[in-house]
């Protein structure tokens, strides 16, 4: 379990003040015509923190990240990144940040090293210093042997690591990762997150969007977005405490989905949500203890259901939040 209260540590470069937050958003809003993609979003991200931004597709995650990177001007509100205003001084923001998008924007026809040389050059780096930096980063992500491979020939997981170091060549204080693990195999995702945690431990601030709830557990703090609003913001543990009262059970059985509406109406049941082929059932232990729950499930009209106690996940939090609204 990651540290819930991140300790700010100032990276060497371009820190305005050691105590200042890396990212500040104040009532950040973005409209596209009538559609409000992001509405009144406010938060602060401390230095060295891994800040997870969760939400369904279209909830406003990417729009937020694009505003913070200076790619998109906010319609209202303001944001500062590394002490620079994103609307007024996007150039300073660009120098301080690294950005990796879900599309891994690398040139697939170039070799790995050629891609890195290009992006290093785009940040004004060059010569022997850049070559050393590329070597060190390739070494660090265990790709030293793949430097001369055509980027398009790499499997997705490795390509994603190349994209990450392409965003880190200029030693940015803040990394923005927009769905960095979309479509990547689970094992590769774990390796990737180990890297992210190492980076954060070294003082880099990481702002990451994802819709994989399991990944969100790696974050120090999490913001949850639905329909353009930031509806919750806390550490994973606190979010679960706050939004998931009661105890959580995993309910399995052949007709579990059909049984859910009936279960929800039963006194003592706080919530019931499908979870894969099974369901997560949240009950108030004072009104419905384990033995009575087992009886309820065994006697139901939808065949025999089995329940066992489980740890709540962030997905439960997210679903509870969506239900609450």
């Amino acid at each position: 379990m990651p540290d819930a209260t991140p300790t700010p540590s100032a990276p060497a470069q371009s820190a305005p003040a050691a105590s200042a937050p890396a990212i500040v958003a104040e009532q950040l809003t973005r409209r596209f015509g009538e559609f409000v993609a992001v509405r009144d979003v406010s938060f602060k991200v401390a230095r060295g923190e891994i800040f997870g931004y969760l939400g369904a597709n279209g909830a406003g995650k990417s729009t937020t990240i694009r505003m913070l990177c200076g790619l998109l001007a906010p319609t209202a509100g303001r944001a500062t990144v590394a002490g620079a205003d994103v609307a007024r001084d996007p150039e300073r923001v660009k120098r301080a940040i690294g950005y990796m998008s879900q599309r891994f924007s690398l040139y697939l026809d170039l070799r790995v090293r050629e891609n890195l040389e290009f992006f290093g050059g785009a940040y004004g780096l060059g010569g022997a210093a850049l070559a050393r930096r590329i070597d060190a980063l390739l070494e660090r992500v265990e790709l030293a042997a793949q430097g001369d491979v055509r980027t398009g020939d790499l499997p997705g997981g490795l390509r994603q690591r190349v994209a990450l170091i392409a965003a880190m060549l200029h030693e940015p204080a803040i990394l923005f990762l927009d769905e960095p693990t979309a479509g990547v195999a689970p094992a590769a995702r774990r390796t990737f997150w180990r890297l992210i945690r190492e980076l954060a431990a070294g003082g880099t601030t990481v702002f990451v969007t994802t819709h994989y709830m399991d990944e969100a557990e790696y974050c120090h703090r999490i913001g949850m977005m639905t329909a353009g609003r930031l509806v919750a913001l806390d550490t994973p543990a606190a979010l679960k405490r706050e939004h998931l009262a009661g105890s959580m059970f995993l309910v399995e059985g052949p007709q579990v989905a059909a049984a859910l509406p009936e279960l929800r109406r039963h006194p003592g049941v706080l919530g019931a949500q499908p979870f894969g082929a099974a369901a997560h059932l949240r009950v108030d232990p004072a009104r419905l203890d384990g033995a009575r729950l087992q009886r309820l499930l065994a006697d139901g009209a939808h065949g025999a259901l089995r329940a066992r106690s489980v740890e709540p996940s962030l997905e439960d939090v997210f679903l509870a939040l969506v239900e609450e609204r």
Partner: protein, 383 residues
């Protein structure tokens, strides 16, 4: 700035030279196009198929037909009872019809007409056939008049008068001497035009595609979060293609000189300056098109919207002077027209900077305007 520009140039060159199809498009295609066009687009009419209908069947009519067919342009396919049908069926493009009573009228010194039917579907060929027949009839008409003059002076009319040698009578004749392209070879005229169009196609399409590709694949977004300036990015994209364009221009010219004996009478420096100014226009067009395209396919289609009218209004195929007034006005804004003019004058006539000041200035002005407009649009699109 230096590292940024270097990075973009190196990246573009790597991408271009790694792509075999792109290399084909860049080097092989222009040479192939030039060779094909140089050989195939031949405006010189060599031979026109001809049928004859001799309704008179006299020695005089036979002599007339022999004389007309002596012209190398007209090639005898045979006699035909129905000349109009021969033309319709495509057996021949010209039919010579000598009417009944030809010899009798001629003997009485009366005017006589020979019918020449010409298939006008191909204007160039038709014109050549008309020229060939009238050439002979003019000469024989003159011989007849001279013979009549002699008869009036008491000398006997010799048979056949048509082929009698002319007597010395006062007359004015033209002695044309063709300069610059004495054999009126089409290739000599065409190669500069082909070179201009090949350069236009290559540089504008490649530039447009290279920028549209970044947009299509999403790499442009990654570039936009880097501090690289749009101007640097644009310059880095244009410079390699400008260099490639100059190399291609050299190759095309070398092929023209070696294969089609196109002379190089003007200064190579003038050619270089003219080409560089022309490239400002074509690269600017490429960038401009790319600002309106989201995909490479759109970029290609968009390029052809520009390229087709630019070629048609360039004087490459048909002279600008033959165009209607409004079209001539349009050609003033067409860089291809000015470049074709510079190339032809410099290569064939040996014209210098002074003689070509006007088209060169036009190229410089148009190129600067195009590139400025394109880069403004590009900067707006990127940021």
């Amino acid at each position: 700035m230096r590292n940024e520009l270097h990075a973009v140039v190196v990246k573009e060159l790597r991408q271009t030279f790694r792509d075999r199809r792109m290399l084909m498009l860049l080097i092989v295609a222009p040479v192939l196009q030039l060779t094909l066009l140089g050989y195939a687009v031949n405006m010189d009419v060599e031979q026109v198929e001809t049928v004859v209908t001799d309704e008179d069947g006299s020695p005089a009519s036979r002599a007339l037909l022999r004389g007309m067919l002596a012209d190398p342009t007209l090639h005898l396919r045979g006699a035909s009872g129905d000349p109009a049908a021969a033309l319709t069926e495509g057996q021949a493009s010209v039919a010579l019809v000598v009417p009944r009573g030809f010899a009798a009228r001629l003997a009485h010194g009366r005017p006589v007409q020979v019918q020449v039917l010409v298939d006008g579907t191909d204007p160039v060929r038709a014109q050549a056939a008309v020229d060939a027949t009238t050439r002979f009839l003019q000469r024989s008409g003159q011989a007849l008049r001279e013979a009549q003059l002699r008869a009036a002076a008491g000398a006997p009319v010799t048979e056949p008068a048509l082929t009698a040698p002319p007597v010395s009578v006062a007359r004015i004749s033209a002695e044309p001497r063709l300069l610059y392209n004495p054999r009126l070879r089409s290739a000599t005229y065409m190669v500069p035009g082909v070179a201009a169009t090949v350069l236009l196609v290559i540089t504008s399409v490649i530039t447009a595609m290279s920028i549209a590709r970044e947009r299509e694949l999403g790499t442009i977004e990654q570039l936009m979060v880097t501090p690289i300036r749009p101007t640097t990015l644009l310059l880095g994209k244009i410079l390699p293609f400008a260099a490639i364009g100059l190399v291609v221009a050299g190759v095309v010219l070398a092929v023209g000189v070696n294969l089609f004996e196109v002379p190089v009478r003007g200064s190579p420096l003038l050619l270089l300056v003219g080409t560089a100014l022309y490239l400002l226009n074509t690269l600017g067009t490429g960038v401009f098109i790319s600002t309106m395209a989201r995909t490479q396919q759109q970029a290609i289609l968009g390029s052809f919207f520009f390229i087709m009218p630019a070629i048609l209004l360039s004087g490459f195929m048909s002279p600008v002077a033959n165009m209607p007034g409004w079209a001539q006005l349009l050609t003033a804004f067409n860089p291809v027209r000015h470049f074709v003019e510079v190339l032809r004058a410099c290569l064939l006539k040996g014209a210098g900077f002074v003689e070509l000041a006007q088209p060169l200035t036009a190229l410089a002005l148009l190129g600067t305007a195009m590139l400025t407009l394109a880069s403004l649009r590009f900067r707006k699109r990127v940021s």
